[in-house]
């Protein structure tokens, strides 16, 4: 187990390096120049060159990447071109908002889909199962953006359950979370639908396995066969799916932030790309990738704990 862990940790760092490199290369090949947005289009060629030299943009790309990387590992994310302040100071607050949104979304997915998946599998063909099946079918294909608008319309404008105005954490955790639940739902609902479908199918698949027949032959009731035998086995593919969903949740957060005008990473990411403010973009990309890769790493650990067959192979 120790060896595989080490291997996974290596993979984690390798992935992050690769992502940061790709982001670096991508931003040096797309058209547009950071000096445009800083100096405006009136600036002379000399001013432009001077600024490029000052920002280090005249150096070859591998050199720039190297100095970015060496600074990054010491915790220095560089300076924003546009705002002329440290990137870390610029994105920290927004990153927190986005991470909270993603975390709430994830919790919602788990809280919504596990019970529904269980109930609809347990009472297959029953009324709950049929309603859930229709709902998941509908919800699954709705994009986060549309779902966000729909929820906003329904809960803010029609039902007036919340004001369509962002409430920061400083106004109290309860109020903050109460607001965040709605954008989080926009992210969570489509993913929950998929999770319910997957879990239901997985449970039903396991219910038909030979070892469940063995469990019944020992005197297990249907409930205890489900709890003691089916659930753990049925959760294995679901855990993998949820881990892979983290990336989508992060991406979904950035989109939904726009709908709900939440000052998260999405807004600053988009304006920084527009401004060609590479250090900021770079930091956000690596941060998002880091979250995704780390969550996958944790899911892999969990997966190994849940399925003893993995290590034996």
């Amino acid at each position: 187990m120790g060896k595989t862990l080490l291997k996974r940790a290596g993979l984690l760092i390798g992935t992050l390096l690769l992502v940061s490199m790709l982001a670096f290369v991508a931003f040096s090949v797309i058209p547009g120049d950071p000096t445009d947005s800083i100096l405006g289009i009136e600036a002379t060629e000399e001013q432009r060159l001077a600024l490029r030299a000052q920002l280090g943009l005249d150096q070859p790309i591998y050199q720039r990447y190297w100095s970015w990387l060496t600074a990054f590992v010491t915790g220095d994310f560089g300076q924003s071109y546009k705002y002329n302040m440290p990137v870390s100071g610029l994105v920290a607050a927004q990153a927190k908002v986005t991470l909270v949104l993603a975390a709430v979304s994830f919790v919602l997915i788990v809280v919504i889909s596990l019970p529904l998946g269980l109930i609809s599998a347990r009472h297959q063909g029953g009324i709950v199962d049929r309603v859930v099946t229709v709902l998941t079918q509908v919800t699954m294909s709705v994009p986060n953006f549309i779902m966000g608008l729909g929820l906003m319309f329904l809960f803010a404008l029609v039902l007036k359950w919340f004001e369509p105005k962002y409430i920061p954490l400083e106004d109290g955790l309860g109020a903050h979370l109460r607001f965040m639940v709605f954008p989080a739902l926009a992210i969570a609902l489509p993913k929950s639908a998929m999770t319910v479908k997957l879990l239901r199918g997985s449970i039903l698949g396991e219910m038909g396995q030979d070892y469940i027949r063995t469990a019944y032959s020992k005197g297990n009731s249907q409930g205890s066969a489900l709890w003691r035998h089916v659930l753990r086995n049925a959760m294995i593919p679901v855990v993998t799916f949820l881990a892979m969903a983290i990336g989508d949740i992060m991406a979904g957060s950035i989109v939904v932030e726009q709908v709900f005008t939440i000052p998260g990473l999405g807004r600053i990411l988009i304006s920084s790309i527009g401004n060609r403010d590479y250090p900021v973009v770079q930091a956000i990309v690596v941060l998002l990738a880091g979250v995704v890769v780390l969550c996958n790493f944790l899911a892999d650990l969990l997966y190994r704990v849940m399925d003893p067959r993995i290590d034996g192979r």
Partner: protein, 269 residues
Amino acid sequence: MMLDIRDLSVVFTDRGAPFTAVDRFSLQMEEGEIVGIVGESGSGKSMTAHALMGLIRRSAVTVSGSAVFEGTDLLPLSRAELRQYQGRDLSIIFQEPMTSLNPTMRIGKQVEESLRIHEKLSRAERKARALDAMALAGLPDPEEVYRQYPHQLSGGMRQRVMIASALVLRPRLLIADEPTTALDVTIQAQILETLKDINRKEGTAILFISHDLGVVKALCSRVVVMKQGEIVESGPVDDVFYHPREDYTKLLIASRPKREKLRGGGDNE
């Protein structure tokens, strides 16, 4: 009489015309007896066993007749009533040792599961009795196996684990549904030997199912021969083996694997 099965029928009603998998099956068994059911694949042996164990729980399957075990007809019992028997008085081991164990549960927990369900014991007591059953089932190093997972064991060992978990409450009747079909011949012989030992030591009656009349002959006193859900022949095993009345039975005898025939019809294996 310990078990009296009369006119047990199992009918599938889910695809078009009803299909009778077991047709008026009758069999009586005394305490401690080993009785065989033999028949070609698809003749309804497993369905008979599952019906008896209460494992047919689909609404599209109708089970009729009676199966009186120690004075109680099992067939009309509710699921909850039946559970009192399953794993305690009646146990079963299946044809598929590779898939009959839960892949994510430690062997020990699976062996002691019937104890957990039917008796209130401390963890230590449960473990002691599980280890005891594992030794009885011929598992070497029960302490070690107790901690392992199914994928770490061979097919033969897994079947022994199944035997141990079936025996942990010392049932009156063990149904063994082709327990060695999936295993190779040497392992098969050892497992048969183990079943025989268990019958001798514990007095457990065994309903032994096989498609191989030679194996049945090595183990059982009486045998019923099944064909397409019906019993076509029955009697003391030697009579049926040496003086078969039905062509079907003769075919079953003739189609036995050569290897065992050379060794004398499965005796002393």
